[in-house]
């Protein structure tokens, strides 16, 4: 087990290193950061001084080593725009994004699981077919378009829900949270629904496929023969067994929810790190871009490793293969 863990961690570190190389090439080597940093009207002395200060006069590999050294010390540089450490800037925005992403995941699971169960248990019913057709839309409609429609219908036409912002927040341990106030919850509904729709479709389809297979298994037939109530068969016998793949997917998909939050946060003016990255792209604020990227990549890799490890703990067969 510890050998497996070591191997997995080694692979994760290797992946992080490859990504640091790619991010460095993408953000620093392609394009010219000097154009962004220095006013073209500045005189030669200032230009040379700035270039030397940021180390752009060094060979590329020296620049990369410096960059890597910074990463290892948690130093992503200072934001060109806010003149604050890039990491701190992102850390400030992290709670808002996490709140949005977690709410979206909760919505997706709480609504998706029962709908998927129903669609799988009664696949011929009209509502079940309707659910499946709707889930295709959930897959293929672009997130930003759905967000626009939600605003148009629920904010502009019906006027039920606010179209943007976090609303009132309550401070707990120095971090602002929207979901603790009624007004904040109102503001959370639309963006979280928007972000949830894609995952909702995914969970509906997974649950449906899983339950259809499981209900044909011998242990379900046996449970039926014992005369156990149908509801108990579904919840205790079948659901437990399809939960493992669903939990895996939920874990893996959490990273992509955070990534897609970029779109949702922009539409609903949600002050999270997704909006920060869009603004930093528009202002060419490279340190913030790099910090965001490395953080997201680290999160993805961490999630992947944890899911692998969890699966190994849950399923003894995987342990022997590794």
């Amino acid at each position: 087990m510890s050998l497996f863990l070591l191997k997995r961690l080694g692979a994760a570190l290797l992946a992080m290193w490859v990504m640091s190389l790619l991010v460095f090439t993408g953000v620093f080597a392609i394009g010219n950061p000097i154009d962004v940093l220095i006013n073209p009207a500045a005189d030669q002395r200032i230009i040379a001084e700035t270039i030397a200060r940021y180390g752009f006069d060094q060979p590329l590999w020296v620049q990369y080593l410096r960059f890597l050294n910074g990463l290892l010390h948690g130093d992503f540089g200072r934001s060109f725009v806010f003149n604050e450490p890039a990491l701190a800037l992102i850390a400030q925005k992290l709670p808002a994004t996490l709140e949005l992403a977690l709410t979206a995941m909760v919505i997706a699971v709480v609504i998706g699981l029962p709908l998927g169960l129903y669609a799988g248990l009664r696949p011929k019913d009209l509502p079940a077919q309707g659910i499946m057709a709707a889930s295709i839309f959930g897959f293929s409609l672009p997130t930003f378009w759905v967000g626009l429609m939600l605003i148009l219908v629920f904010s502009v036409e019906l006027g039920w829900l606010p179209s943007g912002g976090r609303g009132e927040t309550l401070s707990v341990f120095g971090i602002e949270w929207s979901f603790l106030t009624l007004n904040g919850l109102y503001h959370l509904v639309l963006p979280a629904t928007n972000l949830a729709l894609f995952k909702l479709s995914l969970i509906i389809r997974l649950t449906r496929a899983g339950i259809r297979e499981t209900m044909l298994q011998d242990y379900v037939k046996f449970a039926r023969a014992k005369g156990i109530r149908p509801g108990r068969i579904v919840v205790v016998h079948a659901l437990r067994n399809i939960l493992i793949p669903i939990v895996t997917v939920i874990g893996l998909e959490f990273g992509s929810v955070v990534a897609f939050a970029v779109v949702t946060e922009t539409i609903f003016s949600w002050p999270g790190m997704g909006r920060l990255i869009i603004e930093s792209i528009q202002t060419l604020d490279r340190p913030v871009m790099v910090a965001y990227l490395m953080l997201v990549v680290a999160m993805f890799i961490l999630i992947n490793v944890s899911v692998d490890v969890l699966n190994t703990l849950l399923d003894p067969r995987l342990r022997h293969r590794a």
Partner: protein
């Protein structure tokens, strides 16, 4: 006199067989019709659009934000209304479709070539080269394509070429994985052994023998990826980091109308959005049916 010969039964051409399989699904036919109509409209836009939306001289601010169906100063009705610059929304959509489709098809074609070459190469060489290429592909596939495209556009800057490059770099991995999987399965088949025994040059073995046999799954991936490319490009442009303002795609049009939506002028955003949806859903319907038709396991 020779005995009468019964007329040989006409062989059914593969194309005809393919078509009759495809046409089994009415939904797929509907999707195909949607795609064909939209692509035709986009291609013929300069002739069928009521107005050239790029021609600043032809625009009048008097016509700004007219609701759908109003007659403007040009003397014709704006069936889908006008935007903030007095541009006919229908014309803007037709020209925007051109940009969206061009970018997506170009990106899809390049990604198909690059990914297929990478996948074939990995399957062919095996060993370290295979490990290196496929691990990179796996790493990339664990990140959402939209995130990669966003990063690349950020690094490369705005512009048509940059968006295409970003889309190719974000999407080639899907083709590489498909090509690699199919090629690994096919290369130990008898016909590949035969080609090797005949000592055909490797390029010929790959292109004439292997490639045609791994093409069906690649075609399916290509349809889905073109739809994805359209959606990703629209998202990037909507976020303001995609296509330049001089070449508005559907995403740009939707973004332009966003600010007016809150004041109830829905048409500037909604109609380009509907065009986008019709295109994406049409392609997905076609892709779904292609997947079934081209899947040998479902062959009767």
């Amino acid at each position: 006199m020779s005995p009468p010969v019964s007329p040989p039964s006409k062989p059914v051409s593969p194309a005809r067989m393919f078509w009759s399989d495809f046409a089994e699904s009415k939904l797929a036919l509907l999707g195909l019709a949607m795609v064909v109509v939209i692509v035709l409209a986009a291609v013929t836009a300069p002739w069928i659009a009521p107005q050239n939306p790029y021609d600043q001289a032809g625009l009048s601010l008097m016509d700004a934000r007219l609701p759908p169906g109003t007659e403007g100063s040009g003397g014709y009705a704006h069936w889908l209304g006008t935007d903030a610059a007095g541009r006919d929304v229908l014309s803007a959509i037709l020209f925007g479709l051109r940009t969206s489709i061009f970018v997506a098809v170009a990106a899809g074609a390049f990604a198909l070539c690059l990914g297929t070459v990478a996948g074939l190469f990995a399957a062919w060489r095996g060993g370290f080269a295979e490990q290196a290429v496929m691990r990179l592909v796996d790493l990339q596939l664990s990140l959402p394509a939209i995130l990669l495209a966003l990063v690349l556009v950020a690094a490369l800057g705005q512009g048509t070429q940059q968006v295409v490059i970003a889309l190719v770099a974000a999407q080639y991995a899907y083709f590489a994985r498909t090509a690699h999987g199919a090629a690994s399965a096919e290369r130990h088949r008898d016909y590949m052994d035969a080609a090797r025994v005949l000592a055909l040059p490797p390029a010929r073995q790959m292109l004439r023998h292997l490639l045609p046999n791994i093409l069906p799954p690649l075609i399916v991936v290509a349809t889905v990826q073109v739809a994805n490319a359209i959606a990703i490009e629209a998202t990037l442009s909507f976020l303001g980091v995609g296509m330049p303002v001089t070449e508005p795609s559907l995403g740009t049009l939707i973004a332009n109308g966003f600010q007016f939506m809150l004041s109830g002028r829905y048409w500037i955003s909604v109609y380009p959005g509907l065009a986008l949806l019709a295109l994406i859903i049409g392609i997905n319907l076609v892709g779904d049916q292609l997947r079934d038709v081209l899947n040998p396991r479902l062959r009767k």
